[in-house]
């Protein structure tokens, strides 16, 4: 198998990054920035799986390849990078540090795509590190104190993660006797190496308590960067676990337990932390943390019960895609929202944002709902002890996400993110809408896209509405409560009853006005009528009129046509003595 496709796929971002350092080519590079992952995408979409290539010659031997799993990752990651690139092109147009951003962006992209294609531990580690460190630049980009702090935190965790990963990979390689990932997967790794690997990847995933870096970083990075950070890059942690850990072959009950517990804590703790955030992107960051908790549940279950892994992994992939697209859409939407200047267009964007938000929250029949249901089903095969808890946690995670999404929607209105000064409002809309549409369409296309691993999703029930509803209701309640808190209970109550009072007052006023008018009329009309009647002596006229009327009425009724007014013969009508009148004298 030729290495060429891989060179094309990975060389394109690399080449562009290099070109970007050349001033003359910059504008061209920026123009094609959205298409940087295109070759990788094409490879993933068109290539026959599995396909591998190696360049033993490069460094310690570079093994690249794609299989059914990584291919899917490439697809949604690439898509997201495309959209982010398109956004970045406009976002960075007037940025003085655009070049450095572009380079870092492309490098991170290279790392991301590369690690998905890596087939050996070292290249994997390298791409992984490339991605992580390049991202540092993205996080740092704005150079604000906030960004600096976030970056500092970020880099600290990255370092920690890289160290753990490195140690883990090293140990694993030692135990497996090979650095090929396939070998690692088949080896029963020692507990410690698995633990180290888990730490490394969990830092990337942001599983608690290793999550601290994530929200600030996602909040601080520019919109296109945070979209890929949250959508694409953190999935590298998942991908790493799936490809490196010996899941499905060996049981690591303790690890699984820890991971699952952490996941569960993460789901809800992220909620608690997230709702306190004022920066909408930070809220989204916590939402990502929370969502990764869900993934952790699946991973943990897989660690605990290897038999269940086969059922779990397709779902995890789906969930990753789902989260990547939805969260990416949300981040891009945040940018799109920030780019809007008018209230109406903001409202429209908010409405559009509701779709990915609800998808994320797990609206039935959306990717969120399906994914969660599928996960539940898959987890059914795992530990029966944990199952009810998992089910509950998954369901409640819908509530949690809904709450976070509500918080997010509230916050983009309260603290609108800043957009670059001269950004055309409509420029960044297209990527956002594209990713949103992709997110919505995911359940529909997944079948054709994923083929072999799509079955659990196809079979999953559409999911329940109540978590979302609960979340909405709770959010509304909380909003009301917060509103009340802010303005004081008394004021709030009066606000609450204001419509009633207003209605009552209005009704009263209308009635009063009507009554006044009626009274005026009621006084003036009879007065005028009465006076006129007196003055014109209409009563007299009425006498005559009434006689005429009575005559007419009586003639009309008692004299039908055949009755003669001039009877020919008039009989004396009655006998003169009438006994009925004098019944008893």
């Amino acid at each position: 198998m030729s290495l060429l496709p891989y060179i094309a796929a990975l060389g394109l971002p690399l080449g562009l990054a290099v070109l970007l350092t050349w001033a003359q080519a910059r504008s061209l590079v920026w123009r094609v920035m959205p298409f940087a992952p295109l070759s990788a995408l094409a490879l993933a979409l068109l290539g026959d799986m599995p396909m591998t290539a190696q360049a033993e010659w490069l460094i310690l031997g570079l093994h690249l390849g794609l299989d059914d799993t990584s291919r899917l990752f490439v697809i949604f990651t690439g898509l997201l990078w495309c959209a982010a690139g398109a956004t970045a092109r406009h976002w960075m147009r007037d940025d003085p540090r655009a070049t450095s951003f572009g380079v870092m962006f492309l490098m991170a992209q290279l790392g991301n795509l590369g690690l998905l294609m890596a087939q050996d531990a070292l290249s994997f580690y390298a791409f992984f590190a490339l991605m992580s460190f390049a991202s540092y630049g993205l996080v740092l980009h704005s150079r604000t104190p906030q960004a600096l702090g976030a970056a500092r935190l970020y880099i600290g965790f990255v370092v920690l993660g890289e160290l753990a990963l490195f140690a883990g990979l090293a140990l694993a390689g030692a135990q497996a006797g090979s650095f090929l990932l396939t070998d690692l997967r088949q080896t029963a790794l020692s507990d410690i190496s698995v633990a180290l690997l888990m730490i490394g990847f969990c830092v990337k995933l942001g599983i608690m308590p290793l999550h601290f870096w994530l929200p600030p970083a996602h909040g601080a990075a520019p919109v296109p960067a945070s979209a890929v950070l949250s959508g694409a890059m953190i999935k590298a942690g998942l991908f790493g676990m799936i490809t490196i850990l010996p899941l499905g072959s060996a049981a690591y009950a303790d690890h699984g337990t820890v991971l699952m517990a952490a996941g569960m804590v993460t789901i809800f703790a992220a909620l608690l932390l997230g709702v306190q955030q004022a920066n909408p992107k930070a809220v989204l960051g916590f939402s990502s943390v929370s969502q990764m908790g869900i993934l952790a549940l699946g991973l943990g279950a897989g660690l605990m019960v290897p038999q269940a892994w086969a059922a779990i992994v397709p779902v995890l992939i789906f969930l990753a895609a789902h989260h990547a697209l939805a969260k990416g859409a949300l981040f891009l939407g945040t940018g799109a929202f920030a780019a809007q200047t008018g209230r109406v267009t903001r409202l429209v964007v908010t409405l559009a944002l509701l779709f990915p938000a609800l998808v994320l929250a797990g609206l039935p029949a959306s990717s969120g709902g399906l994914g969660k249901e599928a996960l539940k089903t898959a987890l059914g095969a795992a530990s029966p002890v944990w199952l009810p808890w998992l089910t509950v946690a998954l369901s409640l995670s819908g509530v949690a996400t809904t709450l976070l999404m509500a918080r997010y929607i509230a916050m983009i209105w309260h603290n609108p993110p800043k957009a670059p000064a001269n950004l055309a409002p409509e420029a960044v809309l297209l990527p956002f809408l594209l990713v949103s549409a992709a997110s919505l369409a995911l359940p529909a296309v997944w079948g054709t896209l994923a083929q072999t691993v799509a079955a659990p999703i196809r079979l999953a029930p559409s999911g329940a509405l109540w978590p979302v509803l609960c979340g909405v209701v709770l959010a509304a309640g909380v909003a009301v409560f917060a509103h009340a808190q802010r303005i004081g209970a008394g004021v709030f109550l009066s606000q609450l009853t204001a419509p009633f009072r207003a209605f009552g007052a209005r009704a009263d006023a209308i009635v009063a006005a009507k009554r006044r008018a009626a009274r005026r009329l009621g006084h003036s009309i009879p007065k005028a009528l009465g006076e006129t009647a007196d003055q014109w002596r209409l009563g007299q006229t009425a006498i005559a009129g009434l006689i005429v009327l009575t005559l007419a009425v009586e003639l009309r009724t008692t004299l039908p046509a055949e009755t003669a007014i001039f009877p020919e013969q008039q009989q004396h009508p009655m006998p003169l003595q009438d006994l009925t009148l004098t019944p008893d004298f």
Partner: protein, 485 residues
């Protein structure tokens, strides 16, 4: 030789002799008048006993018998009217004793009694008559005496009102007389029995129209009410009570009677009557709402109430006439009693506080509480709240209308009731508001004899409602309208 005297002739002649005596002996007029009322009431009670015992009774005066002679006849309805007249008259007389006792009213006192007793003669005559020409003469007796009572105070307003009343009265009587002429022309006789079953011809239709309009004018049925408010509002209190409570009822009674004998109050004519009544209910109510003086308000309420009586009469059309008259009769009785009470109470209020401007009723520290209470009680009956007689009348009205499907009359009645609530509550508000009074509000001063008569009347108006069933069965004695109940 023993003189055999019928109570019927007595109930006409006793007041007549009383009037003569009161006129000849002005100093003793009050005493004579009072004694006459007692005796007349006795005669009526005697007659009522006879009627209860024997059903309708008749008396062919001169022994000739109708149609040549004139018959008197008393059935339940006539005795009920006689009783109404006696009772109300008696109580108004008591009130008059008090209200005319001042030295400055010597002249009024001197003429009040003869006129009132002549009025009584006329009314009792109407209720016993069975001859339409005799009715004409009786109506004229009533008219002259009533005009005399109207102008008793001698004020210019009263005189103007009295003159207008006089014109209307004469006019109405003349229309009636012309109608009598046509009846004679067609039938050759004038007794009620002769009217029964007569075929409708042009002459009789003309007679009907003339007589009906003449009576409508006399009873002040809208739109022929123009003379009434001023006349009743400007008369002295006892006179107002008599005029409003009793006099208009005489003409109303004749309408009822003629409807009993005249062969053709057709459906359309009844509709016309009902419409006029509805007009009266509305117009009278509206005018009462904007009346500025208490007595004027009460007078307008009379217009409305008379309208209501006619609505009751027309409530179920031609077919229902044999029942509708009872509702009308009940309302006549109710209104007679209550309105007399109300006018007397209004007079008492005016006497006590010195004016009867509704707007200023709440500015006076003097509160004739008993008179006000009486006024309120009378208003309850006039509005038609249970258990008053007015309520029973209204109940009968609406029941019949409903059963016959004449919903519009139900609507009119309800509208009239609401209007009456509205205009009477204006007065109540004046009675009960205290915050605009400058001086300390006077308390109830104890019982005043002058309040006894109106209070009794008002209590009767309320309490008779509980006795409606016997009253109803009484007026059915002799089967007016020929239908056994």
């Amino acid at each position: 030789m023993s003189v055999e005297i019928s109570p019927m002739i007595l109930s006409v002649f006793v007041p007549l002799f009383g009037a003569i005596a009161a006129f000849v002996l002005p100093r003793a007029a009050a005493l004579i008048g009072f004694a006459t009322l007692v005796l007349t009431s006795g005669a009526v009670a005697w007659l009522a006993r006879d009627v209860l015992a024997a059903g309708a009774v008749g008396l062919p005066l001169g022994g000739w018998g109708a149609p040549l002679g004139i018959d008197l006849r008393a059935d339940g309805l006539s005795v009920a009217m006689l009783a109404l007249t006696s009772v109300v008259g008696f109580l108004v007389s008591i009130a008059a004793l008090d209200s005319l006792k001042g030295p400055e009213q010597a002249r009024q006192r001197q003429y009040f009694w003869p006129l009132w007793l002549l009025l009584l003669t006329g009314m009792n005559g109407v209720y016993l008559s069975t001859d339409i020409f005799n009715l004409y003469v009786m109506i004229e007796v009533i008219a002259l005496a009533a005009v005399g009572l109207t102008v008793l105070s001698g004020s210019r307003a009263a005189l103007q009102a009295g003159l207008d009343y006089m014109y209307a009265s004469i006019f109405g009587a003349l229309l009636f007389l012309m109608g009598v002429g046509f009846v004679y022309l067609q039938l050759g006789r004038l007794d009620f029995a002769g009217l029964t079953g007569a075929a409708p011809t042009g002459a009789l239709i003309a007679a009907l129209a003339l007589i009906f309009v003449g009576l409508a004018l006399k009873t002040a049925l809208f739109p022929l009410h123009f003379w009434l408010p001023a006349a009743h509002a400007n008369a002295t209190a006892p006179a107002s009570a008599l005029l409003s409570g009793l006099v208009v009822k005489a003409a109303l009674y004749v309408v009822l009677r003629l409807a009993q004998y005249m062969p053709f109050p057709s459906e359309n004519l009844l509709t016309l009557v009902g419409l006029m009544g509805a007009g009266a209910v509305i117009w009278g109510g509206v005018q009462a709402l904007r009346a500025e003086r208490l007595k004027l308000l009460v007078a307008w309420s009379t217009v409305a109430q008379i309208g209501l009586i006619f609505v009751a009469f027309a409530r179920a059309g031609e077919v229902g006439l044999s029942e509708s008259w009872k509702a009308a009769a009940l309302l006549i009785l109710a209104h007679g009693i209550a309105k007399a009470a109300m006018f007397l109470a209004a007079g008492r209020i005016k006497d006590e506080i010195g004016h009867d401007v509704i707007r200023d009723l709440d500015r006076t520290p003097i509160r004739p509480t008993l008179a006000q209470f009486t006024f309120a009680l009378a208003a309850i009956s006039l509005i038609g709240l249970p258990p008053s007689l007015g309520f029973i009348g209204k109940w009968s009205l609406m029941e019949g209308a409903m059963a016959a499907g004449y919903w519009h009359w139900v609507g009119v009645t309800m509208a009239g009731t609401l209007l009456s609530v509205a205009y009477f509550s204006r007065v109540f508000a004046g009675f009960l508001r205290f915050d605009r009074v400058r001086a300390p509000v006077g308390e109830h001063q104890g019982w005043a004899l002058a309040d006894a008569a109106p209070l009794t009347l008002a209590l009767m108006a309320i309490g008779l409602g509980l006795l409606a069933a016997p009253v109803l069965s009484f007026i059915e004695i002799g089967y007016p309208f020929g239908v056994a109940p």
